[in-house]
């Protein structure tokens, strides 16, 4: 790569106008476990693979999908510890927003603040960009929303999106299967089918995680037995 001289310093542009460290961060995301999100007419679903490094790991202690506020949840692809830092900061910002405005933070505002944090880490000394892309799913007065935030700090609103290892197959599958009038239950089935596409081994409630939010505006992570029920329906 001709850019290699500029690839070690985050805060230096390469001659082609790229920040190579951010490109590398996206590679870290691309080699992470697949995750995806689908926005339905009456809710949002996010799902991810939960492949653990060994069968000896206690899978009940691992939860990849996290809550940021009662009505906003997040899933990541990439480096788990980096996502933990972002989730913690976002939770605090949501609380501060509420303390200041006495209004529950809208999804777009929280996405913007999270993206700002991620961007700050691309323009500061002595730090590296976050090695995660986040899919933020929420339901507020503007209805169901799904946003993707990248290590560079850019964010996009999606009807359906995927990230991680199997991103191209997953996105192709979603493009074919997605319909504008999809409801939450259909979206959950589609999400499971999309994960199944690139899944190595036997899919079960123990090695995938699904989070949903409906018109009740309460984000929740499904239990493994609930996921098994959905898997049985899909088969």
């Amino acid at each position: 790569m001709g850019d290699s001289q500029y690839s070690f310093s985050l805060t230096t542009f390469s001659p082609s106008g790229k920040l190579v460290q951010i490109e590398h961060a996206l590679m870290a995301v691309g080699s992470g476990q697949t995750s995806l999100g689908i926005k339905a007419t009456n809710g949002v679903v996010v799902a991810t693979e939960k492949k653990l490094p060994s069968i000896l790991v206690d899978e009940t202690s691992v939860q990849k999908i996290q809550l940021m506020t009662p009505n906003i949840g997040v899933v990541y692809s990439g480096m788990g510890p980096d996502s933990r830092v972002l989730v913690r900061k976002s939770r605090k910002q949501a609380q501060q927003y509420f303390r200041l405005y006495k209004e529950i933070i809208p999804v777009t505002q929280l996405v913007r603040e999270t993206a700002t944090v991620m961007q700050e880490f691309t323009q500061s000394g002595g730090v590296r960009p976050f090695g995660v892309s986040l899919l933020i799913a929420g339901y507020d007065d503007n209805g169901p929303q799904l946003y993707q935030v990248d290590p560079s700090g850019s964010y996009f609103s999606w009807k359906a999106s995927a990230m991680g290892k199997n991103v191209s197959n997953a996105k192709t599958f979603l493009e074919k299967r997605y319909t504008e009038d999809m409801e939450l239950e259909d979206a959950i089935h589609t999400a499971i089918l999309t994960l199944k596409e690139g899944f190595e081994g036997q899919i079960s409630g123990k090695n995938i995680e699904i989070g949903i939010i409906g018109t009740d505006r309460q984000f929740r992570v499904l239990s493994s037995s609930e996921i098994d029920d959905y898997l049985a329906e899909v088969e």
Partner: protein, 273 residues
């Protein structure tokens, strides 16, 4: 022009204005009174949980500033806190600790415990050395059972089966001391709390208006806003007042006609478009 150097922000209360305040007082300035809640707040433990109670009058010196304010503040779904003292202080400190408890719930994935709220409150109040004038009755039901505590402005706390705070605390405590016993039922607990608050409402100037009650049991919290309204406002006429013409005595009359100062001219050139 050089930029102003920014000092690092220090935590805690900034006493910088105290010398200025002293100087102003010496020069004869009347300090505006704080709005105190001049309150009766109570709590008791019954067989299934805790009951909290409060009156709804907020006073500013001798004036009633709010006839129906809310003194029972939300801390967590299973923890509520009554506040006496300076209204702004109780609001701010309970909001702040409620926010911290929410973050703690996300981090731990567990229901908040009453002792956590207690420790957060007392540490904050102690670090402000009593300048945050908040006297609280904190009650809730967590995994370890029902709890009731009182928190004083300087940061000390008590753990009690029944407690009263505020200017009406003596009136309310007299009711509790004579009628409280262990193992009260829910109805008896609510009755006793309402009676204690009414004692404060009727016998203390700083307390009045209505009774608010909050019942916290395992897995369920009921916030009974305005449980009793022993001081209804009676109006002479619901239609309002009517004033008959000629009721007001006319002392003198002076009529000044308006002289036009500006001549409005018709026509003329249109403005450039």
């Amino acid at each position: 022009m050089g930029r102003m150097t920014e000092l690092p922000t220090k935590g805690g209360f900034s006493f910088d204005l105290c010398t200025r305040n002293d100087m102003l007082l010496k020069n004869g300035l009347q300090m505006p009174p704080f709005r105190k809640t001049g309150t009766t707040i109570v709590g008791l433990v019954f067989q299934d949980g805790v009951v909290l109670g409060a009156d709804t009058r907020a006073t500013e010196g001798p004036i009633v500033a709010d006839k129906n304010c809310e003194k029972i503040h939300f801390m967590a779904p299973n923890i509520y806190c009554c506040g006496a003292g300076t209204a702004a202080d109780t609001e701010a400190v309970t909001d702040m600790v409620s926010s911290q408890l929410q973050l703690h719930r996300y981090a731990t994935g567990r229901e908040s415990r009453v002792v956590t709220a207690l420790t957060l409150l007392k540490s904050h109040l102690f670090s402000y050395q009593g300048h945050v004038s908040a006297a609280l009755v904190l009650g809730g039901f967590d995994v370890t059972g029902p709890h009731l505590h009182t928190v004083y402005p300087h940061g000390s706390t008590d753990t009690l089966p029944f407690a009263t705070m505020g200017s009406g605390s003596l009136a309310a405590m007299s009711v509790f001391e004579s009628k409280y016993r262990e193992g009260l039922t829910r109805e008896e607990g609510i009755e006793l709390v309402a009676e204690a608050i009414c004692a404060g409402i009727f016998n203390d100037l700083g307390s009045g208006s209505n009774v608010d009650v909050c019942v916290i049991t395992e897995g369920k919290t009921e916030y009974l806003r305005n449980y009793q309204l022993p001081n209804p406002r009676t109006y002479i006429s619901s239609k309002g007042y009517t004033f008959v013409k000629g009721q007001t005595e006319v002392l003198s009359t002076k009529i000044t006609s308006i002289q036009p100062k500006v001549e409005a001219v018709e026509g003329g050139d249109a403005m450039e478009e």
